[in-house]
Symmetry: C2
Subunit: 452 residues, 2 copies
């Protein structure tokens, strides 16, 4: 059935030439974003202070495919197509009959999937004369990716890093600086919103977003870049899943039975999952698709589906999404990239439509799985990605018990080489879980619509 | 002339099936290692306490090609063939007419070339019933690579990490632990040799080697593994250059004009350079080959060529090599992997034979180059590799001035994601150079034999 290859690479010529837009294939259109003042659907003019016209067009397009500009593909070529790898050693360690393939985005310059969108975002800003971009970063992956892309296109980059992350992860700050970016601790004294907090406040993604947006809105030549949540970000990430669909076929598989990814803002998950959802909608494959989130920030499994702000300060449009409330501050787990109060509207919509599953896991199980993965596959997963791996582990062990041989595709969104402090906590017994019990988690899952 | 590809990958089926042994092609044989007591050439029995028979055989073989065992190739396949990448953005930044290709070993599980030899070393030990391996590590790359390979083959791994590195780089220690290894600060109180030092002594590679060797010599089921210097280690690294020769041809180049690598113990350099030297000896290519070392530890450019010990305690055989003396302690530069008092006997021999050049550079120039490289190519180089890049920069700028269009192949032996503290020092003006002036360095260079 398979051809025995371990690492399925693609040639440059097989890299996608277009991004895939799931909106074109959805039976019902996702609800529009609303203006925070008027509560009417936002128009292009409302977004113009923050984003260049091409990104605004991509935010609302119903086109099925959007061409990737040549200068963007030129950068993608430095690290894409990313490998799809058969986790044979891990399979053996698990004693599973499942075939596990991981799509590894840690090969990118920033060490995660985030460059897939930072490069086009900076490109579109640069050709529109923007000279400075502001953004927020939690775990630091997004700030790194934006700083790298800005270095390529000669744009200044200023990053508001969540205070708790800034204080404990100086390496991440240095990496952003190596790429030429400037880092501020958030909340900062550089913005009106930031000044409202006490010095030393640990911050949150929602606060950092407000700060970065506030700065961008004040200055014509400065715009803002967001690393997840929005439609155009999810669009850019579709290169992941498009490649994986092709690679799985090259591996000799007729299709995936399970597609699993971690979900914070939702972009890496959607990037992998939506092209597989396309395959399912067109009847070529029938994978079950699962988003995995942390028990400490269970947006999809315990959040409400309603209109909410993307930031704490209420400066962004209102978006219909699964949310824990825009003032929700999750407990300080190590997967900083999953500590966002809401979920991408498009991901939320397909969950509501019953097209994908969601599950929430405790971080201790995730780190245990990640360490096992490192010792067999040789890659130290990002804490975010470890959530997806833990769900793969559950699925693979269940398959072994049932005597089934499913094909599992999992998104390994990045490496954890700048998160070794978290692994140190795990290895030396200092890692805590939030207080939600397994029963709590199980009952919350029951509330999520399932595929038929 | 070139075919315009940026990243030249090879298929699994194009991965080398054999290691290449330069000894078979040398006009004069390299001088043998001598027993430290008798000063007679060492025989296999002398090495048996430390190494399994296959590695001893590889240490002395004159066979041109040694087959790579299938279980080793099976691990190589997870990350090899490694990419050869055209550094087009960096070329543009430099304004050079040179075409620069970097062979990137940072894609390996440990983040450097070291897994190319840790995997076969652990494999041969495992099939001989060895249950524990000891080793030393400086920068930490080697300890990481050995721990990873030990995890794959079920062997215990104990690493003596140079004290100064242990104290300042806890992330590296954690990474070794993630892979299941055990880390001791060297000098330690676990060995007779270590007990002779004061608590808190910063240590050195030479001291750590003595400690690891002492432990291994005491116990039948424990052996020792060395990450560089020895012939069998250089042999294993030949996969790098063999792939690069093939990839350069696939890029449409008729051959390299310059092959440049950094040299500490010499294995990553030899791994890239020796297959190109083979091409030159056989008249297919005519590259100039240059080893780059730090001004603070200028083994090839200022050391004596004579018999010396590989360790500080004098437990290893005497090897004829360029050495600064086995009790030499280099100043604490950030390229820990280049802080070794001597150079691989095989590399020393070909330098003496006038087959390769050597040059020594200050670390500030290297970090400046590495930062420029990161901002264009998106990879943060290991401080060791930055030495090779700085020499490439000089060569490329000279080519621009002379209106030449040379093809430069450079070894990028690893990434520097666990060395961001060093970059922080550089970016914030806290990086010092050792006191050797440029004139000192230039005059020492004149003493090195040059190719005709």
């Amino acid at each position: 059935m398979t051809n025995g290859r371990i690492r399925i690479t693609l040639d440059e010529s097989e890299m996608p030439t277009h991004w895939y837009n799931i909106v074109a294939d959805l039976p019902t259109p996702p609800p529009p974003p609303l203006h925070p003042g008027t509560h009417q659907p936002v128009g292009p003019d409302d977004l113009a202070p923050l984003f260049p016209p091409e990104l605004i067009a991509q935010e609302v397009t119903a086109e099925r495919y959007v061409e990737i500009p040549e200068p963007v593909r030129d950068v993608y070529r430095q690290y894409r197509p990313s490998p799809l790898v058969r986790a044979r050693r891990w399979e053996q360690r698990l004693g599973t009959s499942a075939r596990i393939y991981y799509k590894y985005e840690g090969v990118s310059p920033a060490g995660s999937h985030k460059t897939n969108t930072s490069v086009p975002q900076v490109y579109y800003n640069a050709i529109n004369g923007v000279t400075r971009l502001t953004t927020e970063t939690g775990a630091g992956q997004w700030g790194t990716a934006l700083a790298y892309a800005c270095a390529l296109f000669g744009v200044e980059c200023e990053v508001w890093q969540v205070g708790a992350s800034y204080d404990t992860k100086p390496q991440r700050r240095t990496l952003i600086e190596v790429f030429g970016g400037k880092v501020h601790r958030s909340p900062s004294t550089l913005t009106g919103f930031g000044k409202g907090f006490d010095a030393g406040h640990p911050g949150s993604l929602g606060i950092a977003i407000t700060e970065a947006v506030e700065l961008a809105a004040q200055d014509e030549a400065t715009k803002y870049a967001l690393g997840s949540v929005l439609n155009h970000v999810l669009l850019h990430q579709s290169v992941i899943g498009q490649e994986a669909v092709l690679q799985l076929a090259k591996a000799g598989e007729s299709g995936a039975d399970h597609v699993i990814g971690c979900a914070g803002g939702g972009s890496n998950f959607a990037g992998l999952a939506f092209p597989f959802l396309r395959e399912r909608l067109e009847g070529r494959q029938a994978p079950r698709i699962t988003a995995v989130e942390p028990a400490s920030c269970p947006t999809l499994t315990r959040g409400e589906y309603r209109y909410d702000f993307g930031d704490t300060g209420g400066m962004t449009p209102l978006m219909k999404m699964h949310t824990l409330g825009h003032d929700f501050v999750p407990s300080p787990i190590h997967a900083g990239g999953l500590r966002y109060h809401a979920m991408a509207p498009l991901v939320s919509h397909v969950v509501e439509e019953g097209m994908i599953d969601a599950v929430a896991l405790h971080q201790s199980e995730c780190f245990e799985t990640a360490t096992e993965f490192a010792r067999t596959e040789g890659i130290v997963p990002a804490p975010e990605s470890s959530h997806a791996l833990a769900q793969v582990r559950r699925t693979a062990l269940a398959a072994a018990e049932a005597g089934e041989e499913p094909v599992i595709v999992v998104g390994l969104s990045g490496h954890g080489l700048l998160e070794l402090g978290a692994y140190d906590s795990f290895l030396h017994g200092r890692l805590g879980d939030d207080p939600l019990s397994d029963e709590d988690l199980a009952s919350s899952l029951a509330a999520v619509p399932r595929i038929g």
